[in-house]
Symmetry: C2
Subunit: 375 residues, 2 copies
């Protein structure tokens, strides 16, 4: 049995006393992000269903719900199980699931008090889902996922989506609940106008499909999608009814490179997530060696950012190197450094605990219930 | 509290019934690798101390010990705690640790029956270590790490190493036990001769330092180092006495690109590690979408390899895309595919369980006790 891993800090500790490597969240920035997004979505008249794959953490989901979120998204049945188990009452699996045993687990979860929903993009997927729901005597809400530009999952908009929606509606154990229209690739298009155009195209496809389905007697359900990089455009589209943004709670180095309307790399969301690391070797060759490497940070979106213009480079399993110039530089052995991860979601998935601090004190320690590559 | 995550399979299951994503080990290949390395090291007259950061798994460490390994290396105090807790009797922390609380934990661990040792590369590090050992009334074996070409941790060879070894020898709670001389960057030099030259240089630095220390009355302890990519050269060096290779148990796509003496990308170690993934969307645009992405594989050393010449591309958090050409291609919804990870160590650290199979049956399920970014 895998054992329970001790948290790296306790409430009341100083932030620089947190054991390394550790995931830190600056509560002032984090709470500002939650409020900014909740306000923007409410003002636009949409529902907010934040993506929990970013944080995998029930404590954060509960804060999002307290600020008006209608529920959360997640990407896997195991995430839904972990979050529902921790008290989250409404979860959309914003993804396709095809495995009968995973679908059975989802159907069993749906026999409890939480509301569950899921996406489909194939007739075989609908059949497998309906079979599991019948077996466990539950009726599940189903969104048909349409391809709105990412060319990943999702059926093409228009007629192919209609055929699937009709198949869902024809299955007694399923309820057609709307469309999923998420454009993942648009999130990191650097240029504001490029993102705007991409989402205009997404909204067109979704609206056309919605209208076609309505003409065939399928009631308009939700149109769910959007992310942190593109949400201004989903919010103003007049088409989307539900926003799935996730990363806004934390932000990361890669989102920090997105340009705003004025062409500036500047966001209304603040960086709240950091990896705390410690200088554990200072061999005097122009580098400080820290204890956060490939197992403490995700590198798919580039290097983490270090404070004070210091460059992080040459990660290995348990080491990173900070270019500090002249021997010693500004850093000393034992110093702790807060890195901004390149990509928040897969970095968070490496950790069992999030240490939430305000000022220089640890205020809460949250479990990352749904972490990792669990099945 | 983080809860115990259920394993994705049980003994006796068919391999294709394992829940996805999951880490698989082909026992025939794995056992051949363990035996090949054990035999080579024994023939060369060295001690084998395999690196457990690769597998983080006590079941594997025990198999290595059963084949003659003198103990294991690990990179962190938390790994040492997890492995000693699971019964591993001899652990070298082949790395510097500077934090007093981590050092206290190591000293406390050393009050138990297991033999612990650690590396140092600074006087401050020696002082901090000695303080913790005195506090807990233990005497720890200490290796002085020298820089042999990686320019990461480690003091320069020769006089600077002598100064540290003398400082270790002067501390009543420490015992000078030898040199650590690991050339990490040499492991993935593609060309055989380049690796050979790099290790010849490492061995020179280690031998020179050893002789200098002996001339100052410091008994020659172990000279420990080497990795999967470079071990033929450490074994034949006449200088190294202990080999720290780790990845040979699993191998990965990146090691698979190293060239042998004939210039061929070919290894005497077999690929035993796979990530099992499932096709969960087949939208008919030339791609099969699988459920192993950034949270199920490490991408620092490139893309994973898929069987049959299929290309894996465009990973996102929980998705990967397999280029299958014409709609449908050879893959169907629900099919399971075994991917070879780009880099084994950080991929294994994502998982709680390793599913060990022989032929097409699950034979054992191992806990990855020391996984993740734990402090």
């Amino acid at each position: 049995m895998s054992d329970v891993i001790a948290p790296p800090a306790k409430v009341g500790d100083g932030v620089d006393d947190v054991d390394t490597p550790a995931l830190l969240v600056d509560l002032d920035a984090f709470e500002a992000n939650l409020k900014t997004m909740a306000d923007r979505v409410a003002t636009a008249g949409l529902r907010l269903r934040p993506h929990a794959k970013t944080h995998k953490c029930a404590a954060i989901a509960r804060r999002q719900l307290a600020l008006g979120a209608v529920g959360v998204c997640c990407q896997k049945v195991s995430e839904a199980e972990a979050l529902v188990g921790a008290g989250v009452p409404d979860v959309l699996v914003s993804n396709e699931v095809i495995d009968p045993r995973k679908l059975d687990r989802l159907a069993i979860l749906a026999t409890g008090p939480a509301r569950l929903a899921i996406c489909v993009d194939s007739k075989d997927g609908i059949h497998a889902l309906a079979t599991s729901c019948e077996r466990h005597q539950v009726r599940l809400d189903v969104l048909v996922e349409i391809n709105v530009g990412s060319d990943r999952c999702g059926v093409e908009s228009g007629e192919p989506a209609l055929a699937l929606a009709e198949a869902v509606a024809a299955a007694p154990s399923l309820r057609y609940a709307g469309l999923q229209a998420y454009h993942g690739r648009a999130q990191h298009l650097r240029d504001w106008r490029e993102r705007q155009e991409a989402i205009a195209h997404s909204a067109d496809g979704a609206a056309r499909t919605r209208d076609l389905l309505a003409a065939h007697g399928l009631e308009t359900g939700v149109i769910s999608g959007g992310g942190t990089g593109s949400h201004p455009f989903e919010l103003s589209s007049g088409v989307f009814t539900e926003l799935q943004a996730g990363s806004y709670v934390f932000m990361d180095a890669d989102y920090g490179r997105n340009l705003d309307q004025q062409g500036e790399a500047r966001s209304i969301y603040r960086q709240s997530l950091f990896v705390l690391t410690q200088v554990m070797s200072l061999p005097g060759r122009g580098y400080a060696i820290v204890d956060a490497g490939l197992k403490a940070l995700s590198f798919d979106s580039g290097m983490p950012l270090a404070p004070g213009g210091i460059t992080y480079c040459r990660p290995s399993d348990e080491h990173g190197m900070l270019e500090v110039g002249a021997p010693g530089g500004r850093l000393r052995l034992g110093d702790k450094v807060r890195l901004i991860p390149g990509h928040c979601d897969p970095t968070v998935a490496l950790y069992d605990w999030i240490v939430a601090f305000r000022g220089e004190r640890v205020e809460e320690v949250w479990s990352v219930e749904a972490r990792g590559a669990r099945s």
